[in-house]
Amino acid sequence: MLNWTRRDFIKAGGASLASGLAGAPFVASGAARKARVVVIGGGYGGAIAAKYVKRLDPQIDVTLVERNKHYVSCPFSNEVLSGERDIESLTFDYQGLAARDIRVIHDEATAVDPVRKTVSLKNGKALEYDRLVVSPGIQFNWKAIEGCGPEMEKTMPHAWKAGEQTLLLRKQLEAMKDGGTAIIVVPPAPFRCPPGPYERAAQMCAYFKHHKPKSRVLILDANTAMSKRPLFEQAWAALYPGMITWTPASNSGKVLRVDQSKRTLVTEFDSYTSDVINFIAPHKAGQIAHIAGLTDAAGWCPVDPFTMESTKHKAIHVIGDASAAGDMPKSAHSAGSQAKATAAAIVAAINGQTAPNPYYVNTCYSLVAPDWGFSVAGLYKADGDKIAAIPGSVVISPTDVAPFTRKEEAAFGLSWLANITAEAFS
């Protein structure tokens, strides 16, 4: 522990941990083999993990496996729906990471053998690892609601993975007649970005207000609580009065069945239809986490709160949305924070040291208009067998503020995006 804290890696410009420590497993007497870290998934979690492993110890051989050539950021993708920004402004590639001596393989990981410590790729090859990071994000649990299936993506886009889906939803909004009601279906918690659906409702209205002033948004929510509720309700009333209706589960808002051919959504007492249905299905950990045997009965990956190492398989760390990270919400900021703790734990383990204290932080900005933003911030720590919120630390922006505060937080939100995407992809 003391060894670790005594080294100021950053000051040394990312110089290596002196790799000659006695007992360090990968530098034994001459015949040194570089330690290998493989990362599955190049989203916020995986990209930041790969970057920090390399930064903390450049001697480690780091490989990132990501199926897509480009990553489209979900954060701020609701602004694509309002027309405030284009999808290109949220699209990143992996050249920045490649330039840092991280091997980037664009392929799909199809299997993991935790005993042999290998990852199989779709192209038939296999990668060996000493430590594996799994950050595949989420997949949809279509079976959770009667009548649902992946084919719905084409007709009732979720736009909960940014890119084509976001553009399809935008197109449907454009095609909608003025006076229509767009429906957002919110899945039961836990889902990625708890404030996301309510921010989305506002961003849809930002578009309606200027182009289809008689149109409305209806939120059918499988939950009874709303993230940042006082802030959203205040903003909706001020900016989009009468345009947004929130129907929580307690008010028959939970969708129980879908009839795809008739485009109807059935709740306990009601049934709804619309030309625009943004159907966000219930979530579970990304497919590869299930294939690798990392998930629990709820469909998420339990981890050691100090190191994010899977409690199912040794030497595999699961981070980001796929992990069951206790009190931490599923967000890009959380994923990055977990990635940094994981990178430190992995570098320590590879160098035969104890993992340093993890520090977990979350923040999430919501923009309901270009000049109206607010945030939630919270600190978390490893506490026994879970990651727990530090009491009193999870706080939202105050509601009683001068207008410039909202404008300022919108600007800080944009800066957050600039910084976290630079942290991940450059």
């Binding site: 940094k340 430190a344 340093p356 923040t363 800080f412 600039a418």
Partner: protein
């Protein structure tokens, strides 16, 4: 580079901070890494509105963070984040960031804005902040080269009487600035490296 012996001990040996809800022992690399998603790598912000913090003086950073934590200094998010940090953690962070290299904001110079900003700077800011203000100093912000978006945010706060302003004199000197002057002087200061 400033080096206070006390801070060095804090930062490099790990102290037992019994009251920290975060962790028993300070791991400064891990702690400082949590700032990167908002303040950039090594404290050089990639966004216009969040301040760069790498290369400010340790005394200034320490003072600002303590005041943000107590609420003495208005902040939108820092006060909420720092609430659970101990004095030792804040001191270690201040020390850490003061050792990073200061990197000036990169912005495209807009001539008209810059000329107007220079005028405002000469008339209003210079007498207190100096002509360049591009060195780290005890307990004062290094202004030259800070991001325009952040300076603008600070001045917007200063012209609104609803917020506590850390310097009464500065409040008096800047409170009649127009939004256009604020935009212009912020632009000028950012390029004044």
């Amino acid at each position: 580079m400033r080096k206070s012996p006390l801070l060095s001990i804090v930062a490099f040996c790990g102290v037992v901070a019994a009251s920290s809800p975060f962790a028993a022992e300070i791991n400064i690399v891990g702690l400082a890494n949590t700032c990167n998603s908002c303040h950039g790598m090594d404290g050089f912000s990639a966004g216009q509105a969040n301040p760069s913090i790498g290369g400010q003086s340790a005394d200034y950073l320490n003072k600002v963070m303590r005041e943000q934590r107590s609420g003495e200094r208005y902040s939108s998010v820092m006060g909420r984040l720092l609430k659970s940090y101990t004095d030792e953690e804040i001191a270690a962070l201040a020390d850490h960031y003061s050792r990073q290299e200061w990197r000036a904001a990169v912005q495209e110079r807009q001539l008209r804005l810059s000329l107007r900003g220079k005028r405002v700077h000469n008339m209003v800011c210079k007498k207190c902040h100096g002509a360049k203000d591009n060195k780290a100093k005890d307990e004062t912000i290094r202004l030259g080269g800070q991001w325009a978006g952040y300076i603008q945010a600070v001045l917007n706060r200063y012209v609104d009487p609803k917020y506590q302003r850390p310097s009464d004199e500065m409040a008096e000197a800047v409170n009649s600035l127009s939004p256009e002057d604020i935009e212009a002087v912020s632009h000028f200061v950012a390029s004044n490296k």
